[in-house]
Subunit: 446 residues, 2 copies
């Protein structure tokens, strides 16, 4: 009997592809990853202040499972809540969860490099500058362009972890009955950098995610290990004000003076940065099926989301964790596992897509709203009093492993139940909430 | 000053493309249509019993405007209501509207040929076997494959009327911020033919659209000029029963005996037909924008819908009518017109897509439901009593030129308003409806 190892091919050496390759090599497969971009370690692509992401426990569990806990500790900056800046520059703080619950700012580039290194240490073959041209989904074959030539490969199973503009998905799009949606919101984003202060320290408090909520748009900032911050302006493409309406140095200056006056001292080269940094769009991708024969998409390739819940990377890492758990329980029988995974995971991918779209409105607008802040306080109190029965939606998404669809349904139900109890008295004194009344109302609709 | 005529290029010589070409040539442009399929008049593609469509007044108005009324009269078979078949073979009749209101069965192939002939008579150049490979949307240029070679064309304006799998849309998909959705329902369809009776006449009444509603699936039949009927089985791909569960002659026979016993005598070669005719899928396509510079998509290319409201062709023809009306009012200033058209029309395209999806449930299930039938009767009565204030949704869609979005909103509102009035007494005696109460309830929410 042949002892030849099964061949696993993964398209994409980004965050999800490289993590999946580690799971697969640990499970005993021969793993090859094809990545169309160049090796970031050689091209210095991620050098300097790279963009950062919010890592929370779904992502952390997935990374810990493959032995990366120690590395992580050195890579993250904990953020325990939102630090909100009003137009006068006044600051308020809103914790994300209970004492000890926080999300973590982490460099995308740094984490990605660490994952690729770990994959290679374990024997994964990662081929950069190798582009997937086409996948023959029915026969688990693909055409690759690399080293100046086209060549065909085959494998026992192929994964498309190749992001929001997935090449494998192009092959799915040629199949009959492939449902697909790409939805662009009306806002785009632009990154700006806050350098360290002259004394070498962080220029603003690094223990939170800074938000300048301005109704229809917002600026946010996350800390980096080098004591800089990466800011992102989320802003409509059209309208007034918008990326379109801001055309020259004077417009930029006036706009920031009016809406973000306390950032002017923080970003000394604002006009240069604003002018030279690109403006990017924001897309949600939904599709189904994710599987054809022995080919499967995961991560952004099958469910790209907007960044407003900080769950894009976390949901992709959770894909890897849950997929491997399921695959293990079925002895890596691909004929069963791929179909079973898409069936259980699709509703959660849809739910986090909806949650992320909804959280944009929350971040840019509601966080500045008194009623919303009171509801947050009341829900924290309910969670303290009835930890088994009431968990705020944000906590379910960010600090639990509950399926996203459960967080969506339960959170929306709680939101509905609590509204009649948020009277003017409660707005004035949140602690006077009729918590028994609320919990009974919830019980009665469950 | 040059008197050179402006060049209009249209991709697709289907129903919408050929009608649009007539509007454009009548407006004084030089018009070329590129069609990837072969000329149906040469290949006999549509010979014999072709599939038929339901033409209603939105489509009729568009055709009459370009002088096709006389031709139409010879091509249509009026259908004044639904003829419902229950499992025992009992028939009931449900009119579509008032006396004199009907929809028309028409052959797709016959109408398409007539439109192409009329276009050519007026000087449109229709090039069959010419496939659009790529459109350079920014420069109104395209690459065409035809006569065994690739060549480039340019024009002052280009229209993509090239259907649900539009080639022009592929070029839109390469643009940033193009929102796009293709959604396949769980059902597919298979066509079957009922030949004329032995006496040469229609085998069943030709004055209605026949429906065999069976809950999760249905069979329908529309009459043809040659006294045959074309039936369509709308059926789930998977589940029990489904296309998947019916595997052999015995399954087909048992299935039709159980659910459509009165069709067994009507379709003598049922097993042959079922086995050899293809099973096709059903897709809804939504996208935006429809316009880039001087390129625009219309018809199925920008808004393909499921067939259950009989509005696919009608909405495409209405696109042509409304577009030409708007263009004329702006002196065919493309820089203004294309953008203005997509802006007003998008919401109506979305509405008819939703209406069509909703009507599937109505046709396959609700038409067999007593409460639904009573509501239909009551609404007809309200329409008679308050013709300015109450128009059933079906009537707004099928027998009016009201924007689809208005039909959607108003119809859904009316549905909500009427529910509390549909008491058991009214179910038993529809004419006892408190019509003043209903109309006052509607007024109060408007």
């Amino acid at each position: 009997m042949s002892m030849k190892k099964e061949e696993v091919v993964i398209f994409g050496a980004g965050l999800v592809g490289s993590l999946l390759s580690i799971y697969m090599v640990k499970a005993g497969f021969r793993v090859t990853v094809y990545e169309k971009r160049s090796d970031p370690r050689k091209t210095n692509l991620y050098a300097g202040r790279s963009i950062n992401l919010a890592l929370s426990i779904r992502g952390i569990r997935a990374l810990e499972t493959v032995g990366l806990s120690e590395d992580l500790k050195k890579m993250v900056i904990p953020m325990k809540g939102r630090r909100m800046h009003d137009v006068e520059g006044n600051l308020t703080f809103q914790p994300y969860g209970k004492e000890g619950q926080y999300i973590n700012s982490i460099s995308r580039g740094g984490l990605n490099e660490r994952l690729v290194m770990r994959a290679e240490e374990l024997g994964v073959s990662v081929l950069f500058d190798h582009k997937c041209v086409e996948v023959d989904l029915d026969n688990t074959r693909a055409t690759i362009q690399g080293d100046g030539q086209l060549f065909d490969i085959e494998a026992d199973v192929m994964f498309g972890a190749d992001g929001a503009f997935s090449a494998m998905r192009q092959s799915f799009l040629k199949q009959d009955r492939f449902s697909y949606e790409q939805y662009y919101i009306e806002h785009g984003y632009k990154e700006l950098s806050i350098p360290p202060a002259t004394n070498g320290d962080f220029a603003i408090a690094p223990d939170g995610l800074h938000i300048w909520p301005r109704g229809n748009f917002m600026l946010i900032a996350l800390p980096n290990l080098d004591k800089s911050f990466t800011c992102t302006l989320f802003f409509p493409f059209e309208g007034d004000p918008s990326f379109q309406s801001i055309q020259n140095a004077q417009d930029i200056d006036q706009f920031f003076k009016k809406y973000f006056p306390d950032t002017l001292d923080l970003i000394p080269d604002l006009i240069d940065q604003y002018t030279s940094n690109p403006t990017s769009s924001l897309v949600t991708v939904r599709c189904y099926p994710w599987v054809k024969e022995r080919c499967m998409m995961l991560g952004d390739a099958s469910h790209a989301i907007v960044p407003f819940y900080g769950q894009g990377m976390n949901s992709g890492f959770e894909d890897c964790y849950l997929f491997d758990e399921l695959a293990r329980s079925h002895g890596y029988d691909w004929g069963t596992v791929l179909g079973a995974f898409q069936k259980t995971r699709k509703k959660d991918a849809d739910a986090i897509a909806d949650l992320a779209l909804k959280n944009f409105v929350e971040m840019r607008d509601h966080v500045a709203d008194e009623r919303f802040l009171v509801q947050k306080k009341v829900e924290a109190l309910l969670h303290e009093l009835y930890p088994q029965e009431w968990t705020p939606q944000y906590t379910m998404v960010t600090f639990s492993h509950a399926p996203y669809s459960e967080a969506w349904n339960r959170g929306n139900l709680q939101h509905k139940v609590i509204q009649p109890f948020l009277t003017q008295d409660v707005i004035n004194n949140p602690e006077t909430i009729d918590h028994e009344g609320v919990i009974n109302a919830l019980r009665s609709v469950l």
